[in-house]
Amino acid sequence: MYDEEVIYDSRRLVPPEEHTRPTTERPWVRRTLIGIAVVFMGLVLVLPLLLVFVEAFRKGAETYFAAFSDRNSQSAITLTLLVAAIAVPLNLVFGVAAAWCVAKYEFWGKSFLITLIDLPFSVSPVVSGMVYVLLFGAQSALGPILKANHIEIIFAVPGIVLATIFVTFPFIARELIPLMEDQGSVDEEAALSLGATGWQTFTRVTLPNIKWGLLYGVLLCNARAMGEFGAVSVVSGHIRGKTTTMPLDIEILYNEYNFTAAFAIASLLAMLALVTLVFKTILEFRFGDELAGTRRH
């Protein structure tokens, strides 16, 4: 595919004699750089991942699978799926709308708007949870009204959903904005001039153009939604079997000295991360050109 043409194959393109093309480096430099990259990534990324699986299987496959039959862990998995199923579609709709409005139009204060969309990205997860406690907690102005109407937000599922939405807020929008900016509006203008309605233009022209970027955004958003710890920890109340998500369940198991089970649940999330990444790599492999522009976060 495309990398065959773009990337210099060290075995194929470099002539056998001690001559190096002017646009690449000497073999020893190349090897050193590859070595540095591999060692660095090994120390920082690969080993932690490996450790999760080693610890999860430390006491054998039986103990590993036993961890998933625990009632509380099962309810944590269900809750995590539920939260992601609510948070991701909401952020998806928002992401498309925001990207449309940012990419297709020029208006004053655009950088400011993008920064606001980015903001949850850099807000400490602890703060993300805290803002909802301050807003909906019993001590807030809204607290007594909510209580009088028997509406539970924090320390219940809605609060966990809100915190998750906050944390994963920018993911899809951030994925789509550069992609749609690169693509410009020519296709849409053509469709409109041929008499298509706005909605038709969006579903038949824009959506097919951005579908892979969109999917990638959804995958990352979903992985992050399922894995969020700090923010959810603040709003959850940690009621076992009721308001604990998978990352919180991992913490509880770890705190009960049940390390194997903790790492088993963690391996499930790591697997999710891996599946996400494999899926993404397949997408890139098949739709490399379309996705090339989307790699900016």
Partner: protein, 295 residues
């Protein structure tokens, strides 16, 4: 705004603003309102308390170091991934995104287990560990170099914080630099070589300047993300006040001391700094877009 034939500005802009307000702006406004219930002198006292300043310094300082390390290694990783072909390249490329997807608490537990004095990596550097023994056996070294202690503690020190933040920030650098390198016109390098530049000169004077805007963006994103990081750091930091206590931990401590206003003040300070930084990044990006076309 400039006129456009594309419909839907009102709808999408309105929805964006509405959703943004409901989920982000109003809650954050609530935070500032809470902080504002504290009288000014006390806000100043909380903000200038040595412990607060130290925590902010540790947060921003280790984030800065981690982001710088990531710039160096991130560029090498991106360079290797884009320019060279070697076995396992695709796997390496895929794994770069891992920190986006792996829960931070799991990352923290895994990293602290690895880098603890008895962990796989930590034990290498611990007192009388294999590395230590090997090093002290090198008696042929001049100047008694072998006496130099190789006893480093990584987990439960500020170094541990930096390691966790490197983990969290790496994909930002790689993923911002990678597309620029991919789209880089090789003709420019050829031209430089024809004009007599050696490889290092070409890299330093032709390639790196073109990478700078992307690097800045990646740096700022990695930095901003690292400043707020909590889940992975608490497991590996040691959390000693003034030494390895990051600002988010201080916020949690304030919350547990029933001091929501104090927590809100520190959170507010962090928010303002983060917002300012992100705004600068986005302005740089907008500027680079105008200056270089696409970055």
């Amino acid at each position: 705004m400039k006129p456009s034939v594309i419909p839907g500005f009102g709808l999408t802009f309105g929805y964006t603003i509405l959703y943004l307000s409901l989920l982000v702006l109003i809650p954050i406004a609530g935070l500032f309102l809470k902080a504002a219930t504290t009288p000014w002198p006390q806000i100043v006292r909380i903000a200038t308390a040595p412990r607060t300043i130290n925590a902010l310094e540790i947060s921003f300082g280790s984030s800065l170091i981690a982001a710088l390390v990531n710039v160096l290694f991130g560029v090498i990783v991106a360079w290797v991934l884009v320019r060279y072909k070697f076995p396992g390249r695709r796997i390496l490329d895929a794994i770069v995104d891992l920190p986006f997807a792996l829960p931070t608490a799991v990352a923290g537990i895994a990293l602290s287990t690895l880098y603890a004095p008895k962990g796989w990596i930590g034990s290498l550097f611990s007192d009388k560990g294999p590395l230590w023994q090997w090093w002290h056996a090198q008696t042929w070294l001049p100047f008694g170099l072998e006496q130099f202690s190789l006893n480093f503690k990584i987990a439960y020190t500020p170094t541990g914080i930096v390691i966790a933040l490197i983990f969290v920030g790496l994909p930002f650098i790689v993923r911002t630099v990678q597309p620029v390198l991919e789209e880089f016109e090789q003709e420019l390098e050829e031209a430089a070589a024809t004009l007599g530049a050696n490889r290092w000169q070409t890299i330093a004077k032709v390639i790196l300047p073109r990478l700078t805007p992307a690097l800045l963006t990646g740096f700022a994103l990695a930095f901003a993300r690292a400043v707020g990081e909590y889940g992975s750091v608490i497991f590996i930091a040691g959390n000693l006040p003034n030494i390895s206590e990051i600002a988010p931990v201080l916020i949690v401590i304030k919350l547990e001391e029933f001091d929501q206003a104090g927590a809100a003040v520190i959170a507010g300070i962090m928010l303002i700094i983060s917002f300012a930084m992100l705004l600068v990044v986005n302005l740089i990006q907008a500027w680079a877009r105008r200056r270089f076309g696409n970055v």
